[in-house]
Structures are given as structure tokens and as C-alpha cells.
């Protein structure tokens, strides 16, 4: 049994030791907003926060999370940074197919949380791990700037 805190709630799940957090979230706890993209931490679709830091949940065994707090896309809007990022995403119409955007938003929210006014280089560095096949990158960059100016 693994004990894990997600979005402020404690859960106990029966899961193999090597089961990634991604599949614990998706298949055991029904948090479907976090997406499976590549399984090898190459695309960032599975990004969640662990103690506020963006991590790729597809390669992090849930058993290794321990007492740290997990935040997913379902709850990121309850943080000021997450709310601002989500609003900027809508205001600038970043989203196309949307499948990668949970991960993009989680990476972006973590970025402006620690760096309230990132420049292009800092945005690129923080977001380079998140692939978007619709290639919404120019708007992602603009939306992060818009969210950070407020």
C-alpha cells in the first residue's frame, strides 16, 4: 500500500512498487487530466508538481513520492500562478488539440511561481521539455509573459 497526497488529499493505493505516478493518478485515482505521451520523460505531457517542482510522472514511481505533496492539473487553478497561467492560456487561445496542455500549464505554472517575470530564454529553458505537436509554442511563450506581467 502506497500513501500519497494529491491535491491536498491523502490516498492509500495498492500499486506495484515500480508503478509510475502517472498510472496511479490515471488508472487508480481517476485523475485523467495528466496525460500519457511517451513514457520516457521526453514529451512532458505527464508533468505534475511534486512539492511545487515540475516532474515527469511517467517515470517517477509513486512509491518514491513519499510524504511530498503532488499537485495535478485538476487543482493547479487553486494556486495563484496556476490560475494566472490558465487564464492567459484562454485569453491568448494557446490551445489546439490540447492533449499536451496539462503538462505545458504545469511547467508554466511552476516557472512563474519561482520566476515571476521570465524572459524568452528563461521561458524556453523551462518549457523545452514539453512537446506540442500542434506547435503552439509561440502562444505559450506569449501567454507566460502575459501571466507574469499581471
Amino acid at each position: 500500500v502506497i500513501s500519497i497526497n494529491i491535491n491536498g488529499h491523502d490516498y492509500a493505493v495498492h500499486a506495484p512498487d515500480d508503478m509510475p505516478l502517472l498510472w496511479v493518478l490515471r488508472d487508480l485515482l481517476n485523475f485523467k487530466g495528466t496525460k500519457f505521451g511517451c513514457g520516457i520523460a521526453q514529451c512532458g505531457a505527464c508533468t505534475v508538481h511534486v512539492d511545487g517542482r515540475p516532474v515527469r510522472s511517467c517515470m517517477l514511481p509513486a512509491a518514491n513520492v513519499g510524504a511530498r505533496k503532488v499537485t495535478t492539473i485538476e487543482a493547479i487553478g487553486q494556486t495563484e500562478s496556476g490560475r494566472r497561467i490558465q487564464q492567459a492560456w484562454l485569453d491568448l487561445e494557446v490551445v489546439q488539440c490540447g492533449y499536451c496542455q496539462s503538462g505545458q500549464i504545469m511547467s508554466a505554472a511552476a516557472l512563474i511561481e519561482r520566476n515571476p517575470a521570465p524572459d524568452d530564454t528563461e521561458i524556453d529553458a523551462a518549457m523545452a521539455g514539453n512537446i506540442c505537436r500542434c506547435a503552439t509554442y509561440a502562444r505559450i511563450r506569449a501567454a507566460i509573459k502575459s501571466a507574469s506581467r499581471r
Binding site: 500499486a15 506495484p16 515500480d18 508503478m19 509510475p20 498510472w23 490515471r26 488508472d27 487508480l28 481517476n30 485523475f31 485523467k32 487530466g33 495528466t34 496525460k35 500519457f36 505521451g37 511517451c38 513514457g39 520516457i40 521526453q42 514529451c43 505531457a45 495535478t72 492539473i73 485538476e74 487553478g77 490558465q86 492560456w89 484562454l90 487561445e93 490551445v95 489546439q96 488539440c97 490540447g98 492533449y99 499536451c100 496542455q101 496539462s102 500549464i105 521561458i123 524556453d124 529553458a125 518549457m127 523545452a128 514539453n130 512537446i131 506540442c132 505537436r133 500542434c134 506547435a135 503552439t136 509554442y137 509561440a138 502562444r139 505559450i140 511563450r141
Partner: protein
């Protein structure tokens, strides 16, 4: 049909089914299809608007939303004429029913080829107008007044002289019993309130908070999840399976076999995946076991040498003009197989029961999927329900239902609903690929350097054989193979375009931009070669060939101005241009790059000018061009599917890599105003991308890119270069 009746929203298809129930469906008028003139027959009725007595307005989306913004556009067509606001409606995916939801340009229910706007522009406005007219008639009857005395606004009907007001929901039930107007009057474009005005997309709020449900997110009561092992070589079969270790994996429930794959069913995906990894499958690799990229390329070249060309276009005496030309050029271009690599990996959820089958999936081809499921299960087609979902990237991949067929073949072996998810490596390796192409070109220049003769021969497989029942007959031209080549924007005085068919032993599919993605790269690159051979500026050279094509001229001029075409650049930097007219839209793109001494390419700036006719949602037009251009650049820079020992050599985003944000330059999109019918957009930018990039590389380095993906080795600066 009498009395109330509860129905599943997805089962609604005919207006007579739904009178008096929870919802009332409106039929739009019959679509203008010459082969179906019987407007009173049920198959001639549309079914796009549903209004509940409580006033809930549901609009049925004939096209599937995969990021292109089509839900917002199709809802705008309906809402504009129905006279409701976009924030008053909900969009629901159409069930498979080609009699109602066929794309008029294909006469089949599928979403692709940048056809949705072009095909549904008129029928959906007519459906909205018909529904509005029936609601007005119902209100007028209720009040005992003439319909002409009534007006509508935001889902209400008003009788102005008495100030009476009824909501659409109040009269929906009565309205559904009234005759459908044969020719509902459409608004003149000047009266549009929604179309042409920037609209918030209706699909995006759920996509920023994690609540949007894609196929992969479907949860069905009692569902189990499977991972699969698929023959590593296409065409291979399962010889034998040692299941011993897999069955020991905690959480593994079942192991299922079909001829070319094995599924391990688990309590959750991770158990299933671990089970697959513990399987020992002995494969009979079949006829493709020795396939290599070298052998595939050699076969294409042989076909190009020996095959019989099928003519697409011949104008003037090309051979004579070539012979008498002042200067002659020839070139060979080659494009690779490409995978779609959508962000959402392939997945399907299926529940097969003795009396029916349900499929939950995101597909671009719901009717074909339904038909396959009926064949595999032995059920009548009307017992197969397909619940279409938002798609996490289509790009053409989900135009084929092979993956749904596989899921049904597994699911029919069990009683519970089964969700199958492919690993990313399977999504890429078992994709059906954009064809590879070999193009041979020849041109003659006259004394002024103008192209007096233009010959373009393409050798490739046909994608159409995967879409037409009975395949594609030998000796018949597949227009897709020459689209963008025979219909370029330019007035070539003599031209011949033909195609040699060579079907490779690799399964093919359409890919974003279809035929034009390939041909426009070849045409625009070779035309650039001609301009340089003539010693002329590439844009000036193009302009001289655009007499009588003002829309193409306008986007070319616009992009030249906006990109600062003549502004000087640093050494090893360059700008390249491309121009094309496909999908009913005109696009010119300038890509500016810098090439490092190592040969690495950095994208500096992208400028696009687009005339897509009447603009439906201007911001979405820009978004499609921005993303579409980058999608095409990503493929040109990085992607080619190669084979070794019959196996696809790429498998994930580490070795089938994609453009990332740190490689993305600023992008400007300029829209050129037009009152022409609206054109397609999903594929326009992708088509523009590779030729503009290749031409920029030539401008920067003097190296002509004739093969994709771009070989950086050609661009590294050697001592004398």
C-alpha cells in the same frame, strides 16, 4: 412516433424519433447533393440542432475536433443563422451516420483534407436557418400572428408589436412537427454577428483544467485495460506465445491472441504493460522481414526508371520547348516516409456484447470504424455505436481504423469493456505512413530566364488504395499524388505532370497537407533553382509567372513586404519563400534562418500571408498557420521513418524528435481580406514550410536541399566552403 421516449443523445439521427421527448431534434434541410434529390426521404434530412424544452441548445458537429478549431467554426455556422450566441450552445460529436453527417466534398463522413469549412459552410448555415425558421413559425402559430411579425435574438422569439417573448425551448416541441423549409433564407455576409468576428474557442476551457475527455480518458463501468505486443515487422504473425511469466505479473487478468498481436489485459495499464514485457512471443516475421530503407529506395528508383507514367496535365509541346530552351535544368527530389506522432497515443475502448457493440474512441473516420466493427463482430451495423471523442492530434493518423479493428478483434473475445492503449513506440512503429516520394524534374529557360518548359514526374505509392473499397485500379491516376504539382499558382506556357505508381510494401496513410505537402516542396524548391539559374530574385521571378492570379500575387507581395525581403542579412543567414494555392486558400511564407558552421540550422523568423477567403474566426486562422508551419518545419528538420530488417528504426520522441519551444522563432501571420468562399486551413501552413526552409538554406549556404529530412552534414562549413 408518439409519446415520450428516452434516447441516448448519440442515437438521435432522425427528426421523427424525438418529438415529445427530453429533447427535440431539428432537421436541417437536405444538403445539396445532386445524387439525392428526395428531400422528403429520411436520408435527405439533416440533424444538426437539438433544443430541449428547458432551452438547452445542442449542436451536432459533423467534423471531429482535433485541435483545428472546427467545433467553434461549425457551431458558428449553425449559431449565426439559428440566432444564438456561442456561449449558449453545447457541441456534441456526431454519431456515425453518413446520410446526415457526410462531408459533402467526400460524400463520406470523415474529417480531413482541410475540407470541413469548405464542405459545411453552406449546409450548416442552412441547417441553422431552417431551424430558426421553424421556431419562428411555431411561435407565430402559438401567438396567432404571421411569422413575418416575429424577430429572433439570442435564443428567443419576439413579437415586437405586442412585446411578447418566447424562448426557443418553449416552442421547440411544436417547431419539430412543422415542415422543414426547402430553401431557408441565409443572412447576407454583412449581417454576420459571429462569423468573421474573433470568437473564443468553445473546446478550450476544458482543455486547460484537465477536464476534457479524450478517447484515452474514457472510463466505462467494468472496464479493463490492455497493452499489446505487435509483430515487429508489418505482415508478421504470432507463431507461439509463452505466457508463463506474463501470467505471474500481479494485476494481469487475461491474455488474448489475434493473428498478428497479443494483448495482455490488466487491472490497470501498468499491470498490462508489465505483462506484455514478460511475454515471450515467437513471431513468424513474414514477407517483409528483410526490408531496409536502401531496398525501398532502390525499388522506387527502379520504378521511376521503368514504370509507366500516368498523365495528370500536359499543355503545349514540352519536349520541343525543352530542346529549344536557352538553358536546361534537371533535378531529383526525394521525400521520406513520415509518422504522424500525435501527442495522444493510439487507444480504443470497446465493449462487445451478444446484442451490440460500443466503441469509445477519437476517430476521423467513424463510419468506416463502425463498419469494421460490424464485420468483425458479426453484428448489424446499427448495433454498433461509436462514441466519438476529442482527438489529441490527428494529422491524418486517425483517418484509418486499423487500430480500432485490432481493438475490436481483441474485445470480442471477452465480455467486459476493454481499453487498449499502444505504447508510444507502437504508435510510431505501427503507424501507417506518409508515402516516400521520388520526383524527377526538368525545365527549360528561355532567353529571359523564364521557364519555357516544365516537366514534373512523381513516383510514389497511392494512399487512395487504403480508402477506396476494392483498392485503387492500376492505370488510374491518383490525383493526390500530383496535387500541388499540376495546379501550382504559375502560368507555365508548357507543362507536363505525371505519376508513376509504385506501391511499397509499407502501409500508407494521409499526413497533414496530403499531396500538396510533397509536391509544393518539390515545385517551390525547383522553381527557386530556376530563379537562381536565371540570376533573378526568387520573389520577382515568381511574380512574373503570376499574371492572371491576383490572389496569389497579393499574398506574395504581402509576405515580401512584411518579411523585409530585401533587408540585408548576416553571412550564412538567408530567407526563403514559398507560395501555393491548395485547399481553397492562398499562402505565401518566408522563413528566415541562420546556419552555424557545424551545419546546425536556427530558425530566426517566420512570416506568412494568407488569403483564405471569408474569414470565419480570424484568430484560429492565425493559430492554424502558426502551428501548421512549425509542424512542417519539424518534419523537414528532423523526421524520416527508416527500416532495417523490416523494422521501423524510430520509436519515440528521442529518435523521432520534434521541434521544441527553444527552437521556435517569432511568427507573424498576415491575413489578406477577401470575399471569396472560405478555404481550408488545417494543412495550409504545413505545405508552405519545407520549401521556404529549403530555399532559405540555399540563400544562406548555396546548398540546395533536394532530400528530406535535411542532412546537416551538407551544410557544415568546410575549409573552402
Amino acid at each position: 412516433m408518439t409519446g415520450p421516449r428516452l434516447i441516448s443523445p448519440l442515437a438521435i439521427s432522425r427528426r421523427e424519433l424525438i418529438v415529445g421527448g427530453l429533447m427535440v431534434a431539428f432537421a436541417g434541410r437536405a444538403r445539396a447533393r445532386p445524387e439525392r434529390v428526395d428531400a422528403t426521404g429520411p436520408s435527405a434530412l439533416g440533424g444538426f440542432v437539438r433544443i430541449s424544452p428547458q432551452g438547452r441548445i445542442s449542436l451536432v458537429m459533423p467534423s471531429v475536433e482535433m485541435g483545428q478549431g472546427i467545433y467553434t467554426a461549425e457551431a458558428a455556422f449553425l449559431s449565426e443563422e439559428l440566432d444564438v450566441r456561442l456561449d449558449q450552445i453545447e457541441a456534441i460529436a456526431a454519431p456515425p451516420d453518413a446520410s446526415l453527417y457526410a462531408q459533402p466534398l467526400f460524400r463520406a463522413q470523415l474529417t480531413g483534407g482541410s475540407t470541413s469549412i469548405r464542405g459545411f459552410w453552406t449546409p450548416l448555415r442552412e441547417a441553422g436557418a431552417a431551424a430558426r425558421s421553424m421556431l419562428v413559425a411555431a411561435a407565430a402559430r402559438t401567438w396567432g400572428v404571421h411569422p413575418d411579425e416575429c424577430a429572433t435574438k439570442d435564443g428567443t422569439i419576439l413579437h415586437s408589436s405586442t412585446g411578447r417573448v418566447l424562448g426557443y425551448g418553449d416552442v421547440a416541441e411544436l417547431a419539430a412537427t412543422l415542415p422543414i423549409p426547402e430553401q431557408p433564407k441565409l443572412k447576407p455576409p454583412g449581417d454576420f454577428k459571429i462569423i468573421g468576428t474573433p470568437q473564443r474557442r468553445i473546446d478550450t476551457p476544458a482543455k486547460v483544467n484537465g477536464s476534457a475527455v479524450y478517447g484515452i480518458d474514457v472510463v466505462v463501468e467494468g472496464m479493463k485495460t490492455a497493452a499489446v505486443a505487435i509483430s515487429p515487422v508489418d505482415g508478421g504473425k504470432v507463431k507461439s506465445v509463452d505466457e508463463t511469466d506474463a501470467r505471474k505479473v500481479a494485476g494481469v487478468i487475461d491474455i488474448l491472441h489475434i493473428d498478428d498481436a497479443v494483448a495482455v489485459v490488466g487491472e490497470h495499464y501498468w499491470a498490462a504493460r508489465a505483462g506484455v514485457e514478460a511475454l515471450n512471443v515467437d513471431w513468424d516475421l513474414g514477407p517483409n522481414a528483410k526490408l531496409t530503407t536502401a531496398s525501398l529506395r532502390a525499388e522506387v528508383a527502379k520504378a521511376a526508371d521503368e514504370g509507366t507514367p500516368l498523365k495528370a496535365l500536359e499543355r503545349g509541346d514540352v519536349e520541343d520547348r525543352l530542346k529549344t530552351a536557352a538553358k536546361r535544368l534537371t533535378a531529383e527530389y526525394e521525400l521520406p516516409f513520415l509518422a504522424h506522432a500525435t501527442m495522444e497515443p493510439i487507444n480504443t475502448t470497446v465493449h462487445v456484447r451478444p446484442d451490440g457493440c460500443d466503441i469509445w474512441v477519437g476517430t476521423q473516420t467513424p463510419v468506416v470504424a463502425q463498419k469494421h466493427a460490424a464485420r468483425i463482430t458479426g453484428l448489424p451495423v446499427d448495433k454498433v455505436s461509436l462514441h466519438n471523442h476529442l482527438i489529441g492530434g490527428g494529422f491524418g493518423r486517425r483517418l484509418q481504423a486499423d487500430t480500432i479493428e485490432q481493438a475490436v478483434r481483441f474485445a470480442k473475445q471477452v465480455s467486459y469493456p476493454l481499453k487498449i492503449i499502444w505504447a508510444r513506440e507502437q504508435d510510431i512503429r505501427h503507424d501507417r505512413f506518409r508515402p516516400c516520394y521520388l520526383d524527377r524534374l526538368a525545365a527549360g529557360l528561355d532567353e529571359q530566364g523564364r521557364p519555357s518548359a516544365w516537366i514534373h514526374r512523381t513516383t510514389s505509392g497511392t494512399v487512395r488504395r487504403y480508402f477506396d473499397e476494392g483498392g485503387w485500379p492500376e492505370g488510374k491516376l491518383d490525383k493526390d499524388a500530383v496535387d500541388g504539382a499540376w495546379d501550382s499558382p504559375y502560368a507555365f506556357p508548357t507543362i507536363r505532370v505525371d505519376w508513376i505508381r509504385h506501391d511499397p510494401p509499407v502501409k500508407l496513410n494521409w499526413w497533414r497537407g496530403v499531396g500538396p505537402t510533397h509536391n509544393v516542396f518539390v515545385v517551390e524548391s525547383f522553381l527557386d533553382e530556376l530563379a537562381h539559374a536565371a540570376g533573378q530574385d526568387p520573389i520577382a521571378y515568381r511574380r512574373a509567372l503570376l499574371d492572371g492570379n491576383p490572389r496569389a500575387m497579393a499574398v506574395l507581395n504581402k509576405v515580401a513586404d512584411a518579411a523585409g525581403w530585401n533587408r540585408p542579412l548576416k553571412p550564412r543567414s538567408g530567407r526563403g519563400v514559398s507560395l501555393h494555392q491548395n485547399f481553397g486558400t492562398y499562402a505565401a511564407v518566408v522563413v528566415e534562418i541562420a546556419v552555424a558552421p557545424s551545419g546546425e540550422i536556427s530558425l530566426e523568423k517566420i512570416v506568412a500571408a494568407v488569403d483564405c477567403g471569408i474569414q470565419i474566426n480570424p484568430d484560429t486562422i492565425r493559430a492554424q498557420i502558426e502551428g501548421g508551419v512549425l509542424f512542417g518545419l519539424s518534419a523537414a528538420l528532423f523526421n524520416g521513418i527508416t527500416f532495417s530488417d523490416g523494422r521501423v528504426e524510430q520509436g519515440n520522441f528521442n529518435d523521432y524528435r520534434q521541434l521544441r519551444i527553444n527552437e521556435t522563432p517569432p511568427i507573424e501571420v498576415h491575413l489578406v481580406e477577401s470575399n471569396e468562399n472560405p478555404g481550408g486551413l488545417g494543412e495550409v501552413g504545413t505545405v508552405s514550410a519545407a520549401p521556404a526552409l529549403g530555399n532559405a538554406i540555399f540563400a544562406a549556404t548555396g546548398v540546395r536541399i533536394r532530400r528530406l529530412p535535411i542532412d546537416r552534414g551538407l551544410l557544415s562549413k568546410r575549409d573552402n566552403a
